[in-house]
């Protein structure tokens, strides 16, 4: 079974509907075909019909209507899929998403994703929103994005084909060495989701799994501030504020109480 659609996934329903159309259509066509097939097997068995018919019986000639039904189904599927493709891939360029984010008051985040055997690296532009500056930072196997934001993923791979797959957001796109591809999704609520590799890439393919953590706006800002070295007054004590676990929570609060100073014992406790 497919996982539940993530809350607020803007275009996930398109993917789901396309899958539903295919599933239901194929069930209908398949069942009808089998009924005709089995009926023909019984009706024209050898004891009853020892010689081949020179031409098809009348009822079988009408089967062309089934062909027309299949054609209609194909056209429905094709048109819906073209619509979905247009909504997800063609229409949604950066300008469009940025405008939409501004209209809705939502955030807009860019992340470069690099697939490697066998982990995902996520490159963030840092506080200045520009890639290639000194405050860029890279995380491994964990992608952190703010809530209520459009996330544009710039996708590539370093060695072999990988496929960037977030089941809950219905995002799946190949990461191709030497090429940059682009996918996007929208987050609403904070939560934790799975990122997987959906292209067999080697013997640890099954282990190529990352975590997508959608955090609240305050957490996101604190994280970016800590990760971007240019921000004064942010010290390591605040590091693992949302790394989870009691251990890290403790060091967070102690660094707060020191107000901008932290001892190395606390650091090493991290």
């Amino acid at each position: 079974m497919r996982p539940d659609l993530a809350e607020g996934s803007e275009v996930g329903w398109l993917v789901d509907t396309a899958i539903d159309i295919v599933t239901i259509g194929i069930i209908v066509v398949g069942v009808l075909s089998f009924i005709i097939f089995i009926y023909a097997l019984i009706r024209y068995r050898r004891t009853r019909q020892p010689f081949a018919l020179r031409e098809a019986p009348v009822w079988l000639r009408r089967i062309v209507y089934l062909d027309i039904a299949v054609l209609l189904f194909d056209l429905t599927l094709l048109s819906f899929n073209l619509y979905a493709w247009h909504e997800i891939m063609i229409d949604a360029d950066d300008q469009y998403l940025l405008r939409k984010a501004q209209e809705e008051g939502a955030g807009f985040v860019r992340v470069q994703v690099v697939g490697r055997q066998f982990f995902w690296a996520f490159i963030y532009p840092g506080a200045d929103q520009t890639f290639g500056t000194t405050d860029d930072y890279t995380t491994g196997n964990i992608m952190i994005v703010p809530e209520n934001s459009y996330v544009v993923v710039d996708l590539t791979a370093k060695d072999v084909l990988h496929s960037f797959f977030i089941p809950e957001f219905r995002v799946k796109y190949d990461a191709i060495p030497g090429q940059r591809t682009r996918v996007w999704f929208k987050t609403t609520e904070p939560g934790t989701y799975e990122i997987a590799c959906a292209e067999l890439c080697g013997d640890k393919h099954y282990d190529m799994r990352a975590v997508l953590r959608v955090v609240s706006q305050e957490e996101w800002e604190a994280w970016v501030a800590r990760r971007s070295n240019g921000v004064p007054g942010i010290v390591s004590g605040t590091l693992h504020a949302f790394g989870g676990g009691e251990h890290r929570q403790k060091s967070f609060s102690s660094s707060l109480s020191h107000s901008g100073s932290v001892s190395v014992q606390e650091l090493s406790a991290n």
Partner: protein
């Protein structure tokens, strides 16, 4: 009829032989290529073999592509590794097979300049934070057990870990007036005295006088250039103020960053240098942004 029967029997025999042969031949997965000390996973320093094996599996999944099949820092990726500014680099060699003549040298440790090995906390710090400006990502999401396993595996790769005693890190406090103007001024003066020989003067653009250190990897064409950091154009590997302080106070193992040269500086003066370096980083960032906006 008889011919067909013989032919199909022959085909069946061939198929059975192929299957038997495939079963007899040991599969050669990349895991088999990871050479461990003594060819087998060994327990080290009170760590259980299970933990080391788990670390090995994690290493194969997350580290092998850059740190190499033999954990010697020669990446699997054909194009090699580059820093953000485009210099070729190599990942850390955990086995001491290559450039450091049997030694393992970790650079970001409280051991500092003379030391080779790193404490568990130093290793975990780098794994968790990543190294800015290099392909090394920060694996923030790793659980404490996974970090323990990775550290245990790294420590099983060189026999020297057995006798290594980790020093306890000193207590450091970040001054509250870090990034204040008077600190930056003091840091600039100190930088002119102590650092420009190797680092050059970033503000006037004067290049360093000293030559960069080179590490050659025997048997390969790989050269590791250990150049002094250009604070304006390149990020600090670990940008945290405490890490910058530690780097200046303790130096960097395996390089010419020897803290004896500035041993007379007080901790307070070193904090001023940290402030100045942070100031340079911000300047570089603003310059780059300005240049991009003009394009």
């Amino acid at each position: 009829m008889r011919t067909w029967w013989l032919l199909s029997l022959g085909a069946l025999v061939v198929v059975v032989l192929i299957i038997v042969g495939a079963l007899l031949k040991r599969p050669s997965y990349p895991e088999g290529d990871v050479v461990l000390v003594g060819k087998r996973v060994r327990a080290s320093g009170g760590q259980s073999a299970d933990l080391v094996e788990r670390g090995r599996q994690l290493y194969i999944a997350m580290c092998m592509t850059c740190h190499g099949r033999q954990a010697n820092g020669l990446p699997v990726t054909p194009e090699g590794l580059r820093t953000q500014v485009g210099e070729p680099i190599l990942a850390r060699d955990f086995t001491g097979q290559t450039h450091t003549a049997g030694k393992v040298v970790f650079k970001y440790t409280w051991q500092g300049w003379g030391g080779e090995f790193a404490s568990d906390e130093d290793l975990k710090h780098v794994i968790r934070e990543g190294l800015r400006g290099t392909p090394m990502p920060g694996f923030e999401g790793l659980s404490e057990e996974d970090l323990d396993a990775l550290v245990a595996y790294i420590k099983s790769l060189h026999p020297g870990w057995k006798t290594f005693q980790s020093p306890s890190p000193p207590s450091v406090r970040v001054p509250s007036d870090l990034d204040a103007t008077h600190r930056i001024e003091e840091g600039r003066a100190l930088f002119q005295q102590k650092c420009v020989t190797c680092h050059g003067d970033p503000e006037s653009g004067r290049p360093p006088i000293a030559q960069p250190l080179q590490w050659y990897y025997p048997g390969t064409d790989s050269v590791l250039m250990v150049t002094a950091r250009d604070f304006l154009h390149e990020p600090l590997r670990l940008p945290d103020p405490v890490d910058v302080f530690r780097t200046i106070r303790k130096g960097i193992g395996g390089t010419t960053m020897n803290p004896q040269t500035w041993a007379e500086l007080t901790d307070d003066q070193i904090w001023s240098l940290v402030s100045y370096i942070r100031y340079l980083q911000r300047q570089g960032q603003e310059k780059k942004q300005l240049a991009q906006n003009q394009e």
